[in-house]
């Protein structure tokens, strides 16, 4: 087990967003978090990263409670984010964005290795390394956002809607690469609205509804679940 949420409550002021939420994420898994708009998916990610503090409950990472740990320390211990809507540093170059991903690490052979790995996964990123990040296309920016996270050499990669706003070709490419990253040994916790794609690569998934986990199970189980088929896989054309 690499990460565990134990009865987590998160508030923004009076707004109660996460309600008694429990997740467990095993070493080496791809776990997907599904749910409609405003259900608390991004808040989950921010709670893991520590930019939002839970009001109750415990976040356990590698056997240690981290809910009071500063964000930088979590990053140092191997948690890295791919943020919703990419959130690159728009006026820095692609290479500088990658460097920021490795902010807490020393420059040296390991950095160079990771850079080569990122360039190998995303040849397009290598081509564009001197371009200002804000001028890249959405798909290219997503590649950089993933590359930036990999530069932290993470044990746990937290991805918030990596397919958002991408054309179908890019979506497939992104999911292929996520699987590849996972095979190379990184655990992945991934928020997705694209349930179809998410369930096709995830081992397990949770479904969040207005801050509560209403369903969880293996990807195969969830794909068979009538509620999921209806609400998230679009079989009955019901809007989420």
């Amino acid at each position: 087990m690499i990460l565990e949420f134990k009865n987590i409550d998160t508030h923004y002021g009076d707004l109660h967003v996460l309600k008694q939420v429990n997740y467990t994420i095993g070493d080496g898994e791809i776990v997907s978090l599904l749910g409609g708009n405003a259900s608390g998916k991004s808040t989950t990610m921010k709670t893991i990263m520590g930019v939002v503090r839970p009001t109750r409950g415990s976040v356990v990472y590698q056997g240690q409670a981290i809910e009071r740990m500063p964000t930088a320390e979590r990053v140092r211990r191997g948690i890295a984010p791919v943020l919703e809507a990419r959130r690159l540093f728009p006026r820095m170059t692609v290479f500088e964005n990658l460097e920021m991903g490795a902010y807490l690490r020393k420059r040296g052979p390991e950095f160079d290795q990771d850079l080569e790995r990122v360039y190998a996964l995303f040849p397009r990123v290598k081509e564009r390394r001197n371009q200002i990040a804000g001028t890249l296309s959405g798909g290219e920016q997503q590649m950089v956002a993933m590359g930036r996270a990999l530069m932290a050499r993470p044990k746990l990669l937290c991805m918030d809607e990596p397919s958002m706003g991408l054309s179908p070709i890019y979506v497939e490419q992104v999911f292929d690469i996520i699987q590849e990253i996972n095979k190379q040994g990184t655990t992945i916790f991934m928020v997705e609205q694209n349930a179809n794609m998410a369930l096709s690569i995830a081992h397990r998934a949770y479904v969040l509804q207005t801050g509560q986990v209403v369903l969880s199970g293996t990807a195969t189980e969830l794909r068979q679940n009538p509620l999921i088929r209806e609400a998230y896989l679009g079989e009955m054309q019901v809007a989420v």
């Binding site: 990263m49 809507a85 690159l88 540093f89 006026r91 820095m92 920021m100 902010y103």
Partner: protein, 309 residues
């Protein structure tokens, strides 16, 4: 003097003023870029800096205008004066951040900005009450060397001011572009939450912005003294407001913008004083500011923040 000579002379003067405003504008822009805070205490960090510079020079036995230094002694005295002044001003900026602003970090609304105005007035009055209301002669150990440039005069002092300002600005620019913490400063200015999630400790970045900005303000204070041969407790407000205008003109938060804005304000001040009337300087400067902002709300080189989707 012909009109051309006057233009040339005022360009020389304007560039000297501009160098000083640019150094001062950088402090506003560095802090604003990261905290979106207009730091009015910066005005009087500059003023205090000019007094610190005065004391350092006095400590070298320089008080009136009579001692002229050249060569290595001049270089040594200036080096110590600049480093001493910048370290002291930098430390003052750090103290202001730590004691007065950090406790308000998560308070919404104008509390932090009002605090900077309060700190500004405290510095102003402390200098007034301890040093007095008279302006103080600023030692000028520089040799008098003048070059003729067409019909205009170029002073050694002016060239020295340009050289020092350029050196400091180049150093700052390289620091912000190339150093690890400089990159963290830029990243934080562009997206503070994302920078945090890369492992940037935002407090350290803020401390660095205050230190660098305040140190440059100290250098500006020393340059003010060398240029005008006096200093006084009131110099912070006029120069500070013009430098702040320079930062807004260049696009607040934008480092090269602050440098260009500073030079522009210096030139406008010099030309306006020559060709219109000195008394109208502020009217001209602020009219140009209003005009620029009406047509380019983010300043000449500013960017409207990109939306996050």
């Amino acid at each position: 003097m012909t009109t051309f000579d006057l233009l040339l002379q005022q360009t020389i003067n304007g560039l000297s003023l501009g160098a000083m405003y640019a150094l001062l504008a950088l402090g506003f822009t560095l802090v604003y870029g990261i905290l979106e805070l207009i730091n009015f205490s910066h005005f009087n960090v500059f003023m205090v800096g000019s007094f610190v510079a005065l004391f350092v020079l006095q400590a070298f036995g320089l008080s009136g205008q009579e001692v002229i230094l050249t060569g290595l002694p001049l270089f040594g005295v200036l080096l110590v004066a600049f480093i001493g002044t910048m370290l002291f001003s930098g430390a003052l900026g750090l103290a202001i951040e730590r004691l007065c602003l950090r406790p308000l970090r998560n308070v919404k609304g104008p509390a932090a900005m009002i605090t900077t105005i309060g700190v500004s007035y405290i510095l102003f009055n402390v200098i007034l009450l301890t040093i007095g209301a008279d302006s103080k002669n600023f030692p000028n150990p520089l040799p008098v060397i003048r070059w003729k440039l067409a019909g205009a005069t170029l002073d050694f002092r002016v060239v020295l001011i340009w050289a020092i300002a350029l050196l400091l600005m180049a150093a700052l620019y390289i620091f912000v572009q190339r150093s690890r913490i400089g990159k963290a400063m830029r990243a934080t200015a562009q997206d503070a939450e994302a920078a945090r999630m890369m492992g940037v400790e935002v407090d350290k970045v803020i401390v660095m912005a205050f230190f660098l900005g305040s140190a440059l303000a100290g250098a500006g204070g020393l340059i003010f003294g060398l240029y005008y041969n006096f200093t006084s407790f009131i110099i912070g407000f006029t120069a500070g407001l013009r430098a702040f205008t320079a930062a807004v003109l260049g696009g607040i938060g934008n480092v090269p913008g602050a440098m260009v804005g500073g030079v522009l304000i210096g030139l406008i001040e010099a030309m306006g004083g020559q060709f219109i009337a000195t008394a109208w300087t502020d009217v001209i400067i602020f009219s140009i500011l209003v005009l620029v902002l009406v047509f380019k709300p983010a300043g000449l080189f500013g960017r409207i923040a990109p939306s996050k989707s």
